[in-house]
Amino acid sequence: MSRDPGLQPERTRLAWRRTLLAVTAILVLELRLAFTGRTVDALLAGLAVVIWSGVLLVGWRRATGVGPRGPERWSIPLTALAAAGLALLGVLHVLRGLR
């Protein structure tokens, strides 16, 4: 295969890395919100760490394997649902803080 002049695979890899970086920033903000000393908040933080590791695993595999082959179908929906999951964990933290 001749070298792709648009470097599409490389741009896609970098886009994945930027996204993983953004997810990591979300995790940090969420962990900071969870330092209340209460067990439930610690459990929510644990769940956030689990989701984050999953995204990192799926995203990293995708980021290192981008090529002419299409994306593994799972990586895209899973990453989006994980982002939505992190948002809902954040909502739970905020609602718990109201009490």
Partner: protein
């Protein structure tokens, strides 16, 4: 709706329609998805930051309302990003028109309105 969600995950369904496109189109579609996802993540980060860095606002619970609104908006952007990605992938494979969407315009209006409301709150607080 359930069918749509199943469609995001089922590799056979999507790969069975149409013909395999130039992989660069698929990668471009994937990058567009990732850019939308980062937009959603930025909104989520904004919500989390509002929850912990904003001081208590004069209106009761306004801080929490802002945080939850941003978080839910971010989640919506993320979920709609997959849906749009799947529909675009399908259109590329079938060589159809790309799906049109009002979502970007709606999102822009919502963000602009939210910003205007906050400007009003800040001014009311400074003057009042």
């Amino acid at each position: 709706m359930w069918e749509a969600i199943k469609g995001w995950f089922d590799p056979r369904e999507l790969r069975s329609v149409g013909s395999r496109p130039d992989y660069r189109f698929s990668l471009a579609n994937e990058r567009t998805f990732l850019a939308w996802l980062r937009t959603g993540l930025a909104l989520i980060a904004g919500g989390l930051a509002a929850a912990q860095f904003l001081p208590r606002l004069p209106l009761a619970h306004l801080r929490e309302v802002i945080a939850v609104a941003l978080l839910l908006l971010g989640a919506t952007v993320a979920v709609r990003a997959v849906d749009h990605w799947a529909r675009t992938e399908r259109a590329i494979r079938l060589d159809e028109e790309l799906p049109a969407s009002r979502f970007p315009a709606v999102l822009a209006l919502v963000v602009a309105l939210g910003a205007l409301v906050l400007v009003a709150v800040v001014l009311a607080r400074a003057l009042g």
